[in-house]
C-alpha cells in the first residue's frame, strides 16, 4: 500500500536534474568554446592569408625591383658603350672597362639603323670560352636568328628571349638610338637572374613578356632546359589594370595557385611569383587543424569535467529524491548521507531531521491510534452496559438519553425487574472519560450480580438501600480513587409504591399530570437523607424512602450534565430552562417529551460540545394502555420489545398465542419458531425496504412486516391481528367496501384504462398530502391495472404493447378512496393466479438487481415499484378466484415522512 501511494503521488522523473545540468553545462562550454575557436581561427586565417599574400607580393616586388635595376644598369651601360664607341678618339680600354663593369652583359653590339649592318661588337670571350664557344658564336647566331630591327625601331626599346635550346640561354636588350640612328643590342646572361630566382625556392618566379611569353625562369638555365608550361591566364596579366597584386587561379591539375604579380612598364614585362595555395597555407592549416583538435580537447575536457561536477552535485539531489520516495513509500526511518558542506548537505541534514521527526511522530500516531482503538473498544463495551433507549416495563414507558462528553462516559443507568416490580439505577462517577467509564463497568457488574441474588432473594428489590450498600462495597473495592453518586428506585405498580435510596445524587423529580397545565413549580424532588458517595466509605449505611403512587406521576431522573453544560456565552442550561422544557412536554409521550427536552437543551448549547456526560430518563405509565382498539381478544407472545406495541394484548406463550410479535433482528435466533408458527408471526422492523424484502420476506417467507416508524402503528397492528384472527382479509377496516367516498370502476380495455383511472384520480381530495402524491398514485394505479388486466387474460407473457380487451365477466375492479384520511387504492383481478413464491422472487430479484427483465410480458419491477411507493401493501389472495392488491399512502404533508416510512407488508390467503 505505501508503495502504491508513492507511485500515485510522485511523478516519474523523465528529465532528471543531472541531465539538465549536463545539458546546460555542455551547451555553454560547447557554444562558448566553439564561438571562441571559430572567431580566433577565423582571425588567424585571415591574418595568415594577409601575411602570405603580402609575402608573395613582396617576393615579386623584390624580384621585379632587382630585375628592373639590372636592366636599367644594362641600358645605362649600353648608352655609355654607345657614347664611348662614337667618340672620335675611341679608347678601347675605356670601352672594355665599361663593358666589364656590367658582368651581366655577354655581348654588346651596335648596328647601323640604315642598313642593319654591324658597326661595333664586343663580347665576353672568357665567358664564351668557359662555355666552350668560339668568339663568333653570337655573330653566327645573329645570322641564324635575325634581330627584330623593325619591332625595335617601332618600340625603340625591346627586351626578348632569343629562343630556347641555345648554347647560352640569354636575354636580348635592344634599343633604337635616334640620335645616332643606331641599334644598341646587349645580350644578358640568364644565369644571374636565375640565381636570383633560386634564392627563394618557395615561389615559382616567372618573367613574362607583354605577350605572355616566358622570358626568365629558373628552368631555363641550361641548353636543354624547358620552362614549365604557363597557363593561358598568364597572357592576361599585362592587361591587368592593377600594376601589382595577388590573384588565385586553378592550374591544369586542378590545383589552386596563389599568384602575385608586378608589371614593369619600362621593359613591358611582368614579374610574377606563384605558389600552390595549399602549400602556402599548409602551415596555417596545420596550426588551424591543431587548434581545432586542441579546442575539441578543451571542449571534451570541459564537458567531462561538467558531467563529473553535475554528477557530483546531482548525486546528492538524487539521494534526497530517493530518500523522499522511500518516505512516501512508508519507510520513515530512511536517512540520506551527503558529506558536502554546501546547501545540499544542509538540506540533507534537514531531511534527516524531518524523517526522524516523522518517524517519531508516526510512532506516536501508532500509539495514539492504538489507544484510540482501545478507547473505541471500551466505548463499544460500555455501550453494552446500557439498556435500549425506549423501553416498556410493567406498564411504564421509559425513555432514556445518554451522551458521553468524550469517547467513554462516567454516567450510567440500568434497570432490573422481578415479580412485576422494577428498579431503576442511575449513577454519575466523578469526572468523565476512561477512568470514570471503568467505574461504570463496576456499577453494571454490580447490577448483574444483584440480578443473580434476586433469584434467591427476590425481596431484595424492595430494599434499594441494601442494594446501594452492596454496590458501595464493590465500588470501594476498586481503590477509592473515583467516587460515584448513585440513585436507586424500585417501582411496585401492583402495590402502587416507590422506594428509593440516594447516594449524593441530584434528586430526581416527579410531577403529577392531573392538571391541564404544568408549571415548573409542579415538579417535586424525591428527597431523602442523602448517603455518602459510593466508593468513599465501605461501611456507609444508606437510607431509603417509600412513597405511594397515585398513577398520574411522571418521574425524571438525570445527572447534572444536562444542567451544567454551557453555551457560547458560558451560560449553563440550568434548572429553570430544564423544568420549563419538561413542563412543556408533560402531556406528550415520554419518548416525544424526551426528544423535545434534548432538542431544547442542545439548541441552547448551540455549537458548544457538552463538557460533561448527559444522562436523562423519563418514566410514566404507558399511554397506549388506553388504546382505542380492543386488543383483549388477541393472545400474543411478545418477543418484540418495541414500546409501541399496545399494552392491551393478552400475554401468552408461543404455543397458545394467536399472534407472535418479533423484532427483525431476532429472526435469526428464532428459526424454530418461524418454522412452527410462520402464519401467526408479525415482524416489527426498522430495516429499510430492501432489507425487509430480502432478509425477512424472501428469506423466511413471512407474511407480515410492520414498519416500526408508522404513525398509525397501533391501528395497523389491530387490523393485522384482526385479519389473521378472523381470516377475513376482505373485511379489513381499510377495505373500501365500507367507505362512501370510494370510487369504483371496472377496467376492461388496456388502451383506455389509464384515462379512466386519471378521471377517477382527478376527483380525489389530496389537500392534506404532500405536494404531488398524484404522480405516485398514477404510477401505482398504472402498474396495478396493467398487471391485473394482463393477468386476467391468463397471458402473463403477452407483449404489453398489444391491445387487450376483457370480456364482460373478466373486468378488473379498480377502487380508490380515503379511509381514515389515508388514500387507499385497491385493484382486484379475477384470476387469483398470483403465488407467494412468485411475489417474493419478483420482489427479491428487483431489490437485488434493480433492473427490468428482458422478457415478454411485464418488466418484473412492478411489485417492487408499488412496494417502494406505498406505505402499506396488502395482498389478498383467493386461489383461482381473485387477487386483490391494496396500496395505502398515509396522510402526511411531509414528503420526507412519506418516503422514510418503512413499508408494511401483509399477505393473506384462503389456503390456511
Amino acid at each position: 500500500m505505501p508503495s502504491q501511494i508513492a507511485e500515485h503521488s510522485i511523478r516519474a522523473v523523465s528529465f532528471p536534474i543531472k541531465g539538465k545540468l549536463i545539458s546546460v553545462i555542455s551547451f555553454l562550454i560547447l557554444s562558448s568554446l566553439s564561438v571562441y575557436a571559430y572567431y580566433a581561427l577565423d582571425h588567424f586565417k585571415k591574418d595568415k592569408s594577409a601575411y602570405i599574400y603580402e609575402t608573395s607580393l613582396s617576393v615579386t616586388e623584390g624580384v621585379s625591383s632587382l630585375l628592373s635595376q639590372d636592366l636599367l644598369n644594362t641600358k645605362q651601360t649600353m648608352a655609355l658603350l654607345g657614347e664611348a664607341v662614337s667618340l672620335s678618339q675611341r679608347s678601347n680600354e675605356l670601352i672594355r672597362n665599361i663593358f666589364n663593369a656590367n658582368p651581366n652583359i655577354i655581348e654588346f653590339s651596335i648596328y647601323d639603323a640604315s642598313n642593319r649592318e654591324l658597326v661595333f661588337g664586343l663580347r665576353d670571350k672568357n665567358f664564351l670560352k668557359a662555355n666552350g664557344l668560339k668568339d663568333d658564336y653570337f655573330l653566327k647566331l645573329t645570322k641564324e636568328k635575325e634581330l627584330p630591327f623593325e619591332e625595335i625601331l617601332v618600340k625603340e626599346s625591346l627586351l626578348f628571349n632569343p629562343g630556347l635550346n641555345l648554347e647560352i640561354p640569354h636575354l636580348v636588350v635592344a634599343e633604337f638610338n635616334k640620335k645616332k640612328n643606331q641599334f644598341f643590342v646587349a645580350r644578358l646572361k640568364l644565369s644571374n637572374f636565375i640565381d636570383l630566382f633560386n634564392s627563394n625556392s618557395t615561389y615559382e618566379t616567372f618573367v613574362l613578356s607583354q605577350a605572355g611569353e616566358v622570358l626568365i625562369h629558373r628552368q631555363m638555365a641550361g641548353k636543354n632546359d624547358q620552362p614549365p608550361e604557363t597557363s593561358a591566364y598568364y597572357k592576361s596579366f599585362y592587361k591587368e589594370s592593377l600594376k601589382k597584386g595577388v590573384k588565385e587561379f586553378d592550374n591544369s591539375k586542378g590545383q589552386r595557385l596563389l599568384v602575385s604579380f608586378e608589371k614593369n612598364e619600362i621593359f613591358n614585362l611582368v614579374v610574377l611569383s606563384e605558389i600552390n595555395k595549399a602549400e602556402a597555407f599548409s602551415a596555417a592549416d596545420y596550426i588551424v587543424g591543431k587548434s581545432i583538435y586542441f579546442a575539441l580537447f578543451l571542449i571534451s575536457f570541459a564537458v567531462i569535467t561538467g558531467i563529473l561536477f553535475s554528477r557530483n552535485l546531482t548525486s546528492h539531489v538524487e539521494k534526497l529524491h530517493q530518500g523522499i520516495k522511500k518516505i512516501t513509500g512508508g519507510d520513515f526511518k530512511t536517512k540520506v548521507v551527503v558529506n558536502s558542506r554546501d546547501e545540499i548537505g544542509a538540506l540533507s541534514d534537514s531531511f534527516n531531521f524531518m524523517s526522524s521527526e516523522i518517524a517519531r511522530y508516526m510512532d506516536e500516531m501508532v500509539e495514539k491510534i492504538r489507544l484510540e482503538k482501545e478507547v473505541e473498544v471500551a466505548q463499544l463495551v460500555q455501550s453494552s452496559f446500557f439498556p435500549p433507549n425506549d423501553l416498556r416495563i410493567e406498564g411504564y414507558d421509559i425513555a432514556a438519553f445518554y451522551s458521553p462528553a468524550s469517547e467513554c462516559g462516567g454516567d450510567w443507568w440500568g434497570y432490573l425487574e422481578k415479580d412485576g416490580k422494577f428498579s431503576l439505577f442511575i449513577a454519575d462517577a466523578t469526572g468523565h472519560g476512561v477512568p470514570a467509564a471503568l467505574l461504570t463497568a463496576t456499577a453494571n457488574s454490580s447490577l448483574n450480580f444483584i440480578k443473580e441474588i434476586l433469584k434467591d432473594n427476590p425481596s431484595l428489590i424492595d430494599r434499594p438501600s441494601e442494594m446501594m450498600g452492596m454496590i458501595n462495597r464493590v465500588v470501594c473495592g476498586t481503590g477509592n480513587q473515583i467516587l460515584m453518586t448513585f440513585f436507586i428506585i424500585t417501582f411496585d405498580p401492583l402495590k402502587k409504591t416507590i422506594v428509593y435510596s440516594n447516594a449524593s445524587h441530584n434528586p430526581p423529580l416527579k410531577v403529577h399530570l392531573n392538571k391541564t397545565e404544568i408549571d415548573k413549580g409542579d415538579f417535586i424532588p424525591l428527597l431523602s437523607v442523602p448517603g455518602p458517595h459510593l466508593g468513599k466509605d465501605s461501611s456507609a449505611v444508606y437510607n431509603e424512602v417509600t412513597e405511594n403512587l397515585v398513577g398520574d406521576e411522571e418521574f425524571i431522573f438525570f445527572t447534572d450534565g444536562i444542567l451544567e453544560c454551557v453555551n457560547n456565552k458560558k451560560v449553563a442550561y440550568g434548572q429553570r430552562r430544564f423544568l420549563k422544557s419538561l413542563a412543556k412536554g408533560s402531556f406528550l409521550s415520554v419518548f416525544e417529551s424526551r426528544d423535545a427536552c434534548i432538542k431544547s437543551a442542545y439548541q441552547f448549547y448551540e455549537d458548544v460540545k457538552p463538557e460533561d456526560d448527559i444522562t436523562f430518563l423519563l418514566v410514566k405509565p404507558s399511554s397506549s394502555s388506553k388504546s382505542e382498539y380492543d386488543f383483549s381478544r388477541f393472545k400474543s407472545s411478545l418477543i418484540s420489545r418495541n414500546p409501541k406495541l399496545p399494552q392491551g394484548l393478552i400475554p401468552s406463550n408461543n404455543e397458545e398465542a394467536d399472534l407472535i410479535f418479533i423484532d427483525m433482528d431476532q429472526l435469526e435466533d428464532s428459526l424454530d419458531l418461524i418454522k412452527k408458527y410462520k402464519d401467526k408471526i408479525i415482524v416489527i422492523s426498522s430495516w429499510d425496504d430492501d432489507q425487509n424484502i430480502s432478509k425477512i420476506l424472501f428469506k423466511h417467507s413471512l407474511f407480515h412486516v410492520i414498519g416500526s416508524n408508522s404513525d398509525q402503528f397501533e391501528r395497523e397492528v389491530f387490523d393485522t391481528c384482526s385479519g389473521i384472527m378472523d381470516k377475513a382479509f376482505q373485511k379489513l377496516s381499510y377495505c373500501l367496501d365500507h367507505t362512501d367516498s370510494a370510487k369504483e370502476i371496472t377496467l376492461r380495455n388496456s388502451l383506455t384504462a389509464i384515462d379512466e383511472i386519471k378521471e377517477v384520480l382527478s376527483g380525489l381530495n389530496i389537500d392534506n398530502f404532500f405536494d404531488s402524491p398524484m404522480d405516485y398514485l398514477e404510477s401505482i394505479s398504472s402498474e396495478l391495472a396493467s398487471n391485473a388486466i394482463f393477468n386476467a387474460t391468463g397471458h402473463e407473457s403477452t407483449e404489453r404493447t398489444l391491445k387487450v380487451k376483457l370480456n364482460a365477466d373478466e373486468g378488473v375492479i379498480y377502487k380508490i378512496g380515503k379511509v381514515n384520511n389515508n388514500i387507499v387504492i385497491s385493484v382486484t383481478d379475477n384470476s387469483g393466479s398470483l403465488t407467494l413464491e412468485r411475489l417474493f422472487e419478483s420482489l427479491n430479484r428487483s431489490a437485488v438487481e434493480k433492473v427490468p427483465e428482458e422478457k415478454k410480458g411485464g418488466a418484473g419491477l412492478g411489485f417492487y415499484m408499488i412496494y417502494s411507493f406505498a406505505n402499506q401493501v396488502i395482498f389478498n389472495l383467493e386461489k383461482g378466484k381473485s387477487t386483490s392488491i391494496i396500496c395505502i399512502i398515509e396522510e402526511t404533508k411531509r414528503y420526507k415522512k412519506y418516503r422514510s416510512r418503512i413499508t408494511s407488508f401483509h399477505y393473506f390467503d384462503d389456503l390456511a
Binding site: 384504462a753 404532500f770 404531488s772 404510477s779 433492473v851 427490468p852 427483465e853 418488466a859 412492478g862 414528503y895
Partner: protein, 155 residues
Amino acid sequence: MSGSLEVKTKVVDSKVVVELAGAIDEDADFSKIKGLGGMHSYEFNFDNINAINSCGVREWTNFVSSLGEKAEIRYLNCRQIIIEQINMVHGFIPENASIESFYAPYFCEDLDKEYKILLKSGDVIEKKAPKVECPDGDHEMEFDAIEGQYFNFIK
C-alpha cells in the same frame, strides 16, 4: 397502456432537444427520437412527466442505452417520480448521461406548505441540500427528504 406519452423533438446546434409529457409506460414510443439517427447529443426534459410504470422503465432503459455509449445525454427538470427511478433502477440513467436539473421538495413550516424547488446538480455539495428561502416569505425552508437517499444519484 395508453400511449399517452407525448414526445416533442427539435434539433438545436446539432443537439436533439426532447420534451416529454404524460406517462412513460409500455406504449411509450421513442422512435421519433431514434429517427434522428447520427446525433451525438441529447437533452431530455422531464418537466411534464407525471407517471411511469415498470414497463415504461424498461422501455426507457432500452431506449436510452440504444443511443450508444458515446452519446452525450442530459436530463433536465427531473420530477420526483423520475428521481425515484434514477435512484432505484440501474440503467435508468446510463454512465454517459448526467442530470442537469431536478426538482427537490422543501417544506416551509411557517406556511405549512411544501414547495418543489428546481435545483442544478451543482447546487448539491457532498449530498447536502442547498439552503432555500420560502418563495412566499423570507425564512429558510427545510429540505423535505432524506438527503443521502434523494441525492444518491449525485456522484
